[in-house]
Symmetry: D2
């Protein structure tokens, strides 16, 4: 931590800062400069409460040098963490995975059709919401437990592992019985009770970046999960708030290489929410993989015109096929490959007990 004194701060003010730092159990190292004095705090273990010093007289501002997160940091663990949501579906290695599926589970027919489209095109995991966080209390809120059962059915049919969202602690336990990976959505990125819950449950977690979350905020939220002993966390860029209303969100792809440098956790991107516009999903899905994403998560619906939510950003089946084909080629350009995923459906049946039955 660096304490920058005001230009013209008195010797007494500098000494009081030094004394306060020492009172807190750290060393102070004053650096008189041409324009002002700065005082380094040495020995910071990441728990220094800067606000106590900020409020001392003569202090201009306090600069935090030490990062507030630890276990998610690449300095803590230099090598990539591999997050495996099912045999053959691992994030963080050289393989790139495409997670596809509808915004919401709507019916048995719909989710089975979607799962087959995903599997046939080369996608390696199935998304689909059973519990939907909606801005309006009057919008469709998801099928709940029945939706989870339909996802389980789709997994048995296709072998695709399931990624689906939980909205609260109680829901997280229910979702964990069915899902291979529990999604924490953007609106709940700083719902610390939920983060702790999924940390304790121990299943892989897909943590989406909040709409106003900095990269540091995202990593701090992941730190909540790791602090509970669960390092199976996949991060996901899905667009942030900005001033241009032509797109639903501003898709921040630079977040991918940023996170990959700062953290050992895998990072994927969701071009469907990131843009909110169907015809932008293919170019931005390609761009995400070109930027180095460990995977993409894409909405596809057997019949987008009939979707109960987010139809306008869901791909048609043939568009999903095109996207997978293109990202496969781009992955190769940068020395990666598209994941082959789980065994074929028939084999999957032979794999026996589905995940939740073991719960």
């Amino acid at each position: 931590m660096l304490v920058v004194m005001q230009h013209g701060a008195t010797k007494e003010q500098v000494e009081r800062v030094v004394k306060t730092i020492e009172d807190m159990g750290y060393q102070a190292r004053p650096m008189p400069g041409a324009q002002r004095t700065a005082i380094g705090l040495v020995g910071n273990d990441g728990r220094v409460n800067g606000s106590r010093i900020e409020s001392l007289e003569g202090v201009a501002h306090v600069i935090h040098v030490t990062k507030a997160y630890k276990q998610v940091s690449r300095e803590w663990r230099p090598e990539n963490t591999i997050v495996t949501i099912a045999p053959g579906v691992s994030f963080g290695g050289t393989e790139v995975h495409v997670i596809g599926g509808p915004c919401s589970v709507e019916s048995e027919e719909q989710i089975l059709a979607a799962a087959r489209i995903v599997a046939a095109a080369g996608g390696t995991a199935l998304r689909g919401g059973a519990f939907k966080p909606r801005s309006s209390p009057y919008s469709f809120q998801g099928m709940g437990k029945q939706g989870l059962e339909l996802l389980d059915l789709a997994r048995r049919e296709t072998g695709l592992p399931i990624v689906t969202e939980a909205l609260d602690e109680e829901g997280a336990h229910l979702v964990a019985e069915y899902a291979d990976c529990i999604q924490v959505g953007a609106r709940n990125m700083q719902n610390y009770s939920l983060l702790r819950a999924v940390g304790r449950i121990g299943k892989p977690v897909l943590l989406k970046r909040g709409m106003a979350a900095s990269i540091t905020d995202l990593l701090l939220s992941a730190e909540y999960i790791l602090a509970e002993g669960n390092d199976q966390v996949i991060l996901c860029e899905r667009g942030i708030r900005s001033f241009d209303q032509l797109t639903r969100n501003l898709f921040d792809l630079t977040a991918i290489p940023l996170v990959q440098r700062l953290s050992h956790l895998p990072m994927i991107a969701d071009p469907s929410h990131g843009t909110g516009l169907r015809d932008k999903v293919i170019p931005m899905g390609r761009a995400a993989v070109a930027a180095g994403a460990d995977g993409i998560m894409v909405e596809v619906h057997p019949n987008p015109d009939r979707a109960m939510s987010d139809g306008g950003q869901s791909l048609h089946p043939e568009q999903f096929q095109q996207l997978v084909t293109e990202v496969r080629a781009i992955a190769t350009v940068i020395g990666r490959s598209l994941g082959a995923g789980v065994a074929a459906p028939a084999d999957a049946a032979r794999m026996g007990t589905p995940a939740h039955a073991a719960g």
Copy 2:
């Protein structure tokens, strides 16, 4: 809802949109224009799923005219809703109230001292966190239930009603036993499970605007609470994310007259979080009242240099006194007055059973 067709959309494309609107049970009213055709959807009850139409061919974009919220709207209820958190402490009328107190409850000595400072200066409610949502899992997370008990003690001493935050459904029930008003913080503004819980509990709620929340988002979140039958909701501006790092947040005071026009709910402002800088709290607290806020919520600490959280934005006791004096005068300029609050401490004791004992 207005469907704007692309320039050059064919007659067939226009007809398909018309037919889809009619299939959905509404009337379609095409308006051919000089440059393009627009089609009005008549009869929208706020539940139309625009994404189904957005994805039809030839559609440029869909404009939503009907607001997605209802019960929070001034169109639904033209007169102001008065939210009473304690006898003499009502928001939404002509009185303006100052809620003061520390960021966190830290000790009996600290919270009692803070409560006395607030009451002596003319503040009419006590804030103080027992459960703290912190970006880092390693920061102080609050005293929990013990903090609630200390708040109760401070209420008995001073007569000040208590506003304190709940982080999840379980916590909300606990907080409701002690608090006069349950705060839902910015990070949880779209935690719908929590919103529904405080809606069902039925106690007054202070709902803070999220860091990336539009005014519409804020009103939609309040709608979740009203939809459970609880209209005792106070909204609060507390700063949003922006690009300038000189302040912790960007304090959006225009939100006050905006919300007051769109909704019948009272709206207050928090200049402590809104700016994050102690020496900006007084001018911006004054500005909030000048802009028409129904109250302000301000951090004050007996000894800010020793605060366990947010010390750098907490007022010193004499600064809090100055702020109350100045906003009292400004309230008068615009035809309002500072609320006198509850009876004096001695009388408060005679008022008998404290709120939570009745729970």
Copy 3:
């Protein structure tokens, strides 16, 4: 400047940074920390090129402690600079001034009527655009030189000094012949050729904050003017870009106390552009003065329904009167007073030669 090394940076990397700093003519002061080493650069005169150091191996990032601006800083000049645009109309002292007038000069009748409304209500300067920067090349671009002549006429009639915008260097010289204060608009805040030109001209300048400008950016742009020897600069908050489309801009009133602490230059606010909504101008104009603004700039039109630009945000005459009355009372609350302005029109005539005739 502080150079933060990566966790695990080698001794050689640290030494190379030290040597580079010394090569550049400064002193280096390494501070080994618990988690990483930081190296202070001592003697920075504000011209250090950090990018050379940023790119050295082992460097995590570079933190700039010294401000890039100088002459605008309160550290450079502790007392307020008083900017006088006409006798009796000074910004930066205890007086608060209201600048009123239409968005654009439209006709003799319109600008004379507007000037009389402003003067009668207690406004002390007249605004009105002769050269308009419009987003679309097809929008009304202003009356040009004829508009300046009409402003001069209005000044002779009412005694009100004139504030009007220049769009380029050539225009600045023309505007300077007529105006008492040359406005540089938000879109041109970083048009450095124009800033240098108004710096050299030497007349008072009203510099509006750009839509994406940080406070530091604003002060750096003012520095361009002061660097040419002209310290008569009034800064103006007029709203920045944000994500909520209910208002035209996000009016950042905290900028007022921020700038007043960092700089000796006066700071006013423009609630008309800051909100873009007529019914928000009165509350936010009051809030600006309560926040400590040295003045406000407000659009008022004799007949807003007929305005050629910005009619929807222009006050009706009686609203302008109400605003002046309310800000007068609020100024008093905080120990300031509304400026009385220039002598009455009849006296103004006796003042003789108008400003531009002397040019």
Copy 4:
């Protein structure tokens, strides 16, 4: 244009809006709805002044359906405009071009070395600032005319056409004597005098998006150039302002497919300014091409550690080579190819008179 009336607007208020629309020379088409009446304005030619209607009583808000820009729109010209800055260097067709070079021209040795690096790696145009817009008046402002002469020399040596920035009208004429493409930078995107000047000059223009500019703003600024009869405009995404300070700007790659759908003009991206971080330039340059950019503009310096500006975001020569190789492969994946550019240096010499000599 659609005028949305308040819920509860009276019949008289609706009629007044209708009459006002008719007075303005357009047709009004009222649409009574379940919750409120909306009134369509038919015949809008893009010049309707909505503010006059917005201010009528009973009007809730006005929605603009017609786009404010015309000639830049794909509705105006459905096929792509091809912008040719030199023989073999055309933007807007199937070829993708890489423009490389240093932030600033610093010396003959530096710019010649940079040009050779660019040409050898497969870049097809040379960038380099002779006039630099710097936030601080004390930063290096460029070599001016001498810089232009050195760029000309580099062009003769390598055959690479030159892209360089102009800051004002006078400078634009000077730049036009030397450059093959005049750059208008982000800070000047709404400097309408400069836009008109480069429109009249008629040479190809590279227009960079402003830091707070929406896509619509960018297209409106381009419209200023086309309105002067010059359709040789290349647009460029270079990052916008956002709240995360880990990157210099927020690189908005979705702008590429957005602009390409709305406009017939070519769109490129600048990952150097878009990220501000050297190690993010390669992944984000790849991502830009994967998103469909018609080219990328990248800073490369023979010795970035010694750069006088932006050294921290400039690629090393071998990194530039890697980037060109990777984007070549990605272009192929999406059915495009990297442009081969002009003839070899030796041939270039034979091409005779350099561009500016013909001026």
